[in-house]
Amino acid sequence: MVATAEQRVETHGLVAKGRSPWADARRRFFRNKAAMMGLFILAFVALFALLGGWLAQWSNEELDYNVMGQVAELGGPSFASGHYFGTDDLGRDLFARTVQGTQISLAVGVVGALIACVVGTLYGATAGYFGGRTDGIMMRLVDVFMAVPYMFVLILLLVMYGRSITILFVGIGLISWMEMARIVRGQTLSLKGREFVEAARATGVAAPVIILRHIVPNLLGVIAVYATLLVPLMILTESFISFLGLGVQEPLTSLGALISEGAGTIAYGTTWQLGFPLLFFCLTLFGFFFVGDGLRDALDPKDR
């Protein structure tokens, strides 16, 4: 599993920047070639996931009895048979399955990252806003959670309660909000003393409202960067879970599941079963990494 920490977000100064930081950031982002390429790749992958189904001549679960049993000879990529990416071991269309797997992988990544962001932001902002003992206890708790071997807990969850996409979403989201909480807390601490927060507090606005209305909106930049960099980590986590055979239920699949199937049969002359899913897997991850890096550089005014 690749956990990458260049995704560690450089946060200082991000919020305190003066006029129109968003416009500056946008300009910087669009000038970044790698980020633009990443964006382009992501758009392509998203289009593939959304519209690929229309191009497919087979559904993702139909068995092609003409191919079944002789996949190595007949199941290769071919326009004539309508299997653009070939078939899997059972004669199911790999194109349709890759489209559908990309959907699941993207969904797991995005939903997982979203859950992590929501939980992390609220938790971090609350801790930072209240400060003092509340903050102390909440952040110690985060320290405690961070020492939990989360992959083990996720495996436990999936083994104990059976595989389901809900557990996957929630499990993956819930194991990665801690870093987010720390970052948001740090930012909140510095925001808390600012005039607009003081003003709101003086006029008797309730704490939850201040957190949601005044603090969180000012943190959106940090959250966006972190979320973008979290998505590929979620996708990698899911692929590992699929490798263990604990991913989504058949006939649904994910890129991780397809790759792990393809890698298993690599010696049997069906390399397309690994190649095509792996291509989309890598493209997706590249896309998110590049866009995430670009966003960070753009939102971080410190000159490189």
Partner: protein, 538 residues
């Protein structure tokens, strides 16, 4: 009929035919310098204690470290082990085994009838908490049930050492196949003094004392097991193979790659690879029938879906599945499509005439299945929704996917449910399923090992198929002189009621190095012994 049978005759014949230098090695064979055999284990060995082990892979190891009363030869026929022969009383309920006097434990102590008594009591004793204690009950040993339930002390078990070399066993119903059951690992003797001295650690390499042809020299859990020839074994002079090594490789495809790289002498062939390998390595890719049947069990209990209580639906489900596709296009390893429960290769068994199997082709079956579904009130407007539950395995997954597509043709929407083995089993035992993948491997080579399973009093009938006629047939078969007819009646009831959907009969599909000889070629239980193996010079 004379119920007194004995193995003495065949044993004597074997003694005469005994070749000069090793069991089974033909004269004039040029043996390789290095006599070692490396085989594959999918998982770590869970226990090397004969009375605790529950796995097939564990049994393969146990058969080399220990020896029971009888062994099997390459065709599955009994040959003497620690017992030379036995006599049976007139009523068929008392077996007296005559043990050889030259059997030794690997520490030099003699193997006595008392060692068997200790081991058998230990198996049944609830204090041992063996998950295979029921095997004593299956063997019908006197008082086994009461001992297991803790209602009687273990010394009341119907097994006695008359003297050091005479073992007497009393059973409660005559069982013609009783001697066959003694090949099972849980009946192997163990050394009482060793277990009392070392407790649970007695199976450690270096500590373990067995009476088999090999001793345990290394056991790295999940990595390898190494066994060396045991010089105190009574037939050590005829053992050619010096060393057995078992490598644990958790991934079947990896195991095959490593076999091809020459690291192993035997591996299973993954589904679908047999034809290719058989073409490339015709001397190494081997398929032989294996004593297991694969079915989808239907839940007929209270908790099961209403639709499955209708025999027409059950039949339609069975008819719609195209077994040829499953065995010829998915498994491709010489398995046979199943239209009944008992494995086709079981000794003295012949399947009865079954109309849907013998008189129809798949197109006709499919037609009939559609008609049956319509009759039962289902159709395109009212599809039947069912779940199909299977435990984690690449092969089960493939078959389940194919089956779900086949059932779609008759308007059944199948949802696949994959669980880990423990949950799968737990759900089946609690009747939390519609259709569930199930396989049964015969404990011995006789049809009742399958057919008993579907009786209402069996411990495995999770679908709760309760049928008085079936129970009666199976009870009658126990005392019948020729049970075949009753077995066929039982199969006919199953075909008429269809509580289980037969899918296929297993085959052992292996790559075996072509210089390794002596592995069984005709043994449906695939019971092999390291002592029979040898490696020829190339």
């Amino acid at each position: 009929m004379n119920m007194t049978r004995t193995l003495a005759v065949s044993a004597a014949m074997l003694g005469l035919a005994g070749p000069l230098h090793a069991a089974g090695v033909p004269d004039g064979t040029k043996l390789a310098e290095e006599q070692s055999y490396t085989f594959w284990l999918l998982d770590a060995i869970k226990s090397m204690d004969p009375q605790i082990n529950t796995d097939v892979e564990g049994s393969d190891i146990l058969r080399n470290l220990f020896e029971g009363l009888y062994n099997e030869d390459g065709s599955g026929e009994l040959v003497p082990g620690v017992a030379l022969d036995h006599t049976v009383s007139e009523d068929g309920k008392t077996y007296t085994f005559n043990l050889r006097d030259d059997a030794r434990w690997s520490n030099g102590e003699p193997v006595t009838a008392g060692d068997f008594v200790y081991a058998w009591r230990r198996l049944a004793d609830p204090a041992t908490a063996s998950e295979y204690a029921w095997y004593m009950e299956l063997m019908q040993v006197e008082n086994a049930a009461a001992v297991i339930a803790g209602e009687m002390p273990p010394d009341q078990l119907g097994v006695t050492a008359v003297d050091d070399h005479t073992l007497e066993v009393r059973i409660i119903t005559p069982l013609p196949y009783f001697p066959q059951m003694l090949v099972h690992g849980s009946t192997f003797p163990v050394l009482q003094s060793l277990i009392e001295e070392h407790g649970d650690d007695w199976t450690d390499a270096g500590t373990l004392v067995g009476n088999g042809a090999y001793t345990l020299t290394e056991h790295q859990l999940g990595e390898r097991v190494v066994m060396e020839k045991n010089d105190t074994y009574w037939d050590a002079g005829n053992v050619t193979m010096e060393q057995l090594t078992a490598l644990t490789i958790n991934d079947q495809d990896q195991a095959l790659t490593r076999y091809l790289a020459g690291e192993l002498d035997r591996v299973d062939i993954p589904a679908g690879q047999y034809p290719r390998l058989n073409e490339e390595y015709p001397d190494q890719a081997i398929s032989t029938p294996y004593n297991c049947s694969y079915i989808y069990m239907l839940n007929l209990s209270e908790k099961g879906p209403e639709a499955l209580k209708d025999v027409r639906v059950r039949k339609a489900l069975a008819y719609a599945i195209d077994r040829d596709i499953i065995v010829e296009r998915i498994l491709q390893g010489g398995q046979r499509g199943a239209y009944n429960w008992t494995h086709w290769a079981i000794a003295d068994f012949e399947r009865p005439q079954i109309d849907w199997a013998d008189d129809m082709d798949q197109a006709q079956r499919l037609e009939l299945a559609k008609e049956l579904m319509t009759e039962a009130g289902y159709g395109p407007m009212k599809p039947l929704e069912l779940t199909l539950q299977y435990n984690t395995s690449e092969d089960h997954k493939k078959i389940a996917i194919a089956a779900s597509q086949m059932l779609k043709q008759i308007g059944v929407n199948v949802t696949l449910d994959n669980y880990e083995w423990k949950i799968h089993t737990d759900r089946m035992q609690n009747q939390d399923f519609d259709m569930a993948r199930y396989a049964w491997c015969g404990d011995y080579n006789e049809a009742s090992t399958y057919l008993d399973l579907m009786t209402s009093y069996s411990g495995h009938n999770n679908g709760e198929f309760f049928n008085d006629a079936y129970d009666k047939t199976m009870k009658d078969s126990k005392t019948a002189t020729d049970p075949l007819e009753l077995y066929q009646q039982a199969e006919t009831i199953l075909a008429d009621e269809m509580p289980i959907i037969p899918i296929y009969h297993y085959a052992n599909v292996d790559m075996i190095a072509d210089d390794i000889k002596g592995l069984p070629e005709n043994n449906v239980n695939n019971t092999w012994y390291g002592k029979d193996l040898y490696r020829i010079a190339e």
